[in-house]
C-alpha cells in the first residue's frame, strides 16, 4: 500500500473547511470591496472608489487613528501592569497561584458583560466611580466618563486593560518559569539586588514572552469592537469610533456591503503589516539579547 501518500488525505476535511469558510470569504471580501454591492442583486464595479473614500475622509482616517491609539495604550499599559504583577508574584511563591488565577478571572468574562458592568461604573447616574470619588472627597474629579470626549477612549481602554492584565501576567509568569534556576541562584549568590536581577537577568530572558504578549495584545486591540459598541456606540462625537465599529455600522445600519468590505480589507492589511513588522523587530531583539 502507498501508505506514504495517503497520510496527507487526513488533512483534507480540515482544509476544505478552511478553504470554504476562510480563504473563499477573504477573496469574496476583496472582490466586493471594489463594488457598491448592497446585499441584493449584483454590485456595480466602482474600482478604487471605496478605498479613495476611506483615505480622503477625515471620518475614516480618524477611526484608524483612534484604533491605533486604543491599541497603543492597551499594549503598553496592560503589559507593564502584567509584568509588574508577574515580577512580584515570581518573588512571592506563597500567593502566586491564587493571584494568578484571581487576576485571570476577568478574562473569562465576555466583552459584552465587561462592557455593561464598566459602563455602569462610569455612569454619571449613580455609577460606582463617581460615587467612590465623592466618598473619598474628590468630588471635583467627577465627570460623565463615557460622555466626555476627552476621557471616553481612556475609560474604555481601562476596562480592556482590566480584563487582560491577568492574561499578560500568566504569560510572563510562564516566561519566568522558563528562566533556568541556576542563573537565578548564581545572581543571588553574587549579591545582586532584586532590582538588579530584574534589569540584568530576568528582563532580557523574558524576551520571548514579551514578544508574545505584545503581539497578542496588538492583534486583540486593533480589531476591538465589543467594548466601544456596548459602552459608547462610538460616541461622544466619534471619540471612540474604531475601525471595527465603522465596519459594523456600514453593514447593519446601511447595508453597504462593498464599502464595509473595503474597510475590512484595510483592517486586514493594517494588522498583517503591523504584526509582521513587530514580530520581525521583536524576534531580532530576542536574538540580540
Amino acid at each position: 500500500m502507498n501508505n506514504k501518500l495517503n497520510i496527507y488525505l487526513f488533512t483534507i476535511p480540515a482544509l476544505l473547511v478552511l478553504c470554504i469558510f476562510f480563504i473563499y470569504p477573504i477573496s469574496l471580501s476583496l472582490q466586493m470591496s471594489f463594488t457598491d454591492f448592497t446585499g441584493v442583486g449584483i454590485g456595480n464595479d466602482v474600482g478604487l472608489k471605496n478605498y479613495e473614500r476611506i483615505f480622503s475622509r477625515s471620518r475614516y482616517l480618524d477611526a484608524i487613528t483612534i484604533t491605533f491609539a486604543f491599541a497603543f495604550i492597551v499594549v503598553v499599559v496592560q503589559n507593564l501592569i502584567g509584568l509588574f504583577f508577574a515580577t512580584a508574584l515570581f518573588r512571592l511563591p506563597r500567593i502566586r497561584n491564587f493571584s494568578r488565577a484571581a487576576l485571570f478571572t476577568p478574562a473569562m468574562m465576555s466583552f459584552v458583560i465587561v462592557g455593561y458592568v464598566w459602563q455602569f461604573i462610569y455612569s454619571p447616574y449613580s455609577g460606582g466611580l463617581n460615587a467612590m470619588l465623592v466618598s473619598i472627597g474628590l468630588e471635583s474629579f467627577q465627570r460623565p466618563w463615557l460622555g466626555d470626549p476627552s476621557t471616553a477612549l481612556f475609560a474604555i481602554t481601562a476596562a480592556h486593560i482590566w480584563m487582560f492584565v491577568g492574561y499578560s501576567c500568566a504569560i510572563f509568569l510562564a516566561g519566568y518559569a522558563n528562566i533556568p534556576t541556576d542563573i537565578q541562584e548564581a545572581s543571588r549568590l553574587d549579591g545582586a539586588s532584586s532590582w538588579q536581577r530584574f534589569c540584568h537577568i530576568e528582563f532580557p530572558l523574558l524576551a520571548p514572552s514579551i514578544t508574545i504578549n505584545i503581539v497578542l495584545a496588538t492583534i486583540g486591540t486593533l480589531k476591538t469592537f465589543e467594548l466601544p459598541f456596548i459602552m459608547t456606540g462610538g460616541g461622544p462625537a466619534g471619540a471612540t469610533r474604531t475601525l471595527s465599529l465603522e465596519i459594523m455600522t456600514n453593514l447593519f445600519g446601511r447595508y453597504k456591503f462593498g464599502f464595509a468590505s473595503a474597510l475590512s480589507i484595510v483592517m486586514l492589511i493594517v494588522i498583517v503589516v503591523v504584526v509582521t513588522l513587530m514580530n520581525k523587530y521583536l524576534r531580532n531583539r530576542e536574538n540580540n539579547t
Binding site: 501508505n3 466583552f111 447616574y125
Partner: protein, 293 residues
C-alpha cells in the same frame, strides 16, 4: 519586593539571624501589599455581584451600598425575560457539537503535520497561522452573504459551522503540538502489524488525545459562550440565541437599568467563572502552552 539573600554566608550567626527576621518581615508585608492589589483588581466583579441583589431605587439612593438582604427578584425577572435556560442549553449544545467536529477534524489534520515535515505541511501550518491571526471582521460580510444564500441564517447548523471554522486553526495547532510529543514507537509497532494509516490514527493516536481534547473543549466553550459578533450577525430567532445575545437583547443599548444589567451580567458570567474555578490549572496551562514557544 523581597530582599535579596545576603552576599555570603560568612556573617556572624547573630547577623544572619537579624537578616533573616528582616527578610521575613519585609516579605510578609510584600505579600500583603501585592495581595491587596490583586484583590483590588477583583472589585468590579464583587461590585457586579453586590449590585445584582439590590433594587434600582436602592442603587440610586446609595450607589456603593451593600445589599441589605438577598433580594432575588432581579434574578427571577432576568431569567424569565432572557429566556435564560433556553439560551444556556443552546450555548451548551453548540459547544458540544463544535467540540466534536473540531477535535475530529483538527486531530486528523494534525496527525500528518506532526509526523512529516515538508513543503506541504509547512504550507498548511502557514495557512493555519494566518487563520489564527485574521480578524473576524474580514470575513463577516462574505460569511453573512454566503450563509444567507445557503439558507443557513438563523439555524443551529450555520452557527455550528462558523464556530467550527473559527476554532479549527487553534485545534490543529493544539493537536500538532500534542501528537509531536507522542512517541513514535507505538505507531511503528502497529505499522509492522500492517495497520493502515487510518487504523493507526483511530486505534493508536486518537485514544491518547483525551487530555488535549479536554483542554480544547474548554476553549471552545469559552468562545461559544462569550462570542458576540457571529451570533449577532447570524441569529435573529430568539429561541436559538446563545447566552451573550440573550444578555444583549435583554439589557439593551439605550437606557441601562441596573436591576436588569447586573443580574444578567452575573447569569451570563457565573457558569464560566465556576468552570474556571474547577479547571483553572488546565485553562491557564492551555493559555500559556500555546504562547511560550
Amino acid at each position: 519586593m523581597s530582599i535579596s539573600m545576603n552576599k555570603s554566608s560568612s556573617g556572624s550567626p547573630k547577623g544572619n539571624g537579624m537578616k533573616f527576621t528582616g527578610k521575613t518581615v519585609f516579605s510578609a508585608s510584600a505579600n500583603v501589599f501585592v495581595l491587596f492589589l490583586v484583590i483590588a483588581m477583583l472589585i468590579p466583579v464583587a461590585y457586579m455581584i453586590m449590585m445584582s441583589f439590590r433594587t434600582g431605587s436602592e442603587i440610586a439612593q446609595d450607589p456603593l451600598g451593600f445589599p441589605t438582604s438577598l433580594y432575588f427578584g432581579n434574578y427571577i425577572n432576568a431569567m424569565d425575560k432572557m429566556n435564560y435556560f433556553r439560551s444556556v442549553v443552546n450555548s451548551l449544545g453548540i459547544t458540544l457539537s463544535v467540540t466534536a467536529l473540531v477535535s475530529l477534524l483538527g486531530s486528523m489534520a494534525a496527525y500528518p503535520l506532526a509526523r512529516r515535515t515538508n513543503g506541504f505541511s509547512k504550507a498548511v501550518i502557514m495557512l493555519v497561522s494566518l487563520g489564527l491571526a485574521t480578524p473576524n471582521f474580514v470575513n463577516i460580510t462574505p460569511i453573512y452573504i454566503i450563509f444567507r444564500d445557503l439558507g443557513l441564517l438563523d439555524s443551529y447548523v450555520g452557527i455550528i459551522i462558523v464556530f467550527t471554522a473559527l476554532n479549527l486553526p487553534l485545534s490543529i495547532f493544539f493537536y500538532t503540538g500534542f501528537i509531536s510529543s507522542v512517541p513514535k514507537e507505538l505507531e511503528e509497532a502497529a505499522r509492522l502489524d500492517n495497520c493502515s494509516n487510518w487504523q493507526i490514527y483511530w486505534h493508536v493516536i486518537r485514544p491518547l488525545l483525551g487530555s488535549a481534547t479536554a483542554t480544547l473543549s474548554l476553549f471552545v466553550m469559552l468562545m461559544v459562550w462569550n462570542d458576540f459578533i457571529y451570533p449577532l450577525l447570524l441569529l435573529t430567532d430568539e429561541s436559538k440565541f446563545t447566552v451573550m445575545i440573550s444578555v444583549y437583547r435583554f439589557v439593551g443599548n439605550r437606557s441601562i437599568e441596573p436591576d436588569m444589567l447586573f443580574p444578567a451580567a452575573v447569569l451570563g458570567s457565573l457558569p464560566l467563572l465556576i468552570l474556571f474555578g474547577f479547571f483553572q490549572r488546565r485553562i491557564l496551562s492551555g493559555v500559556t502552552a500555546g504562547a511560550v514557544k
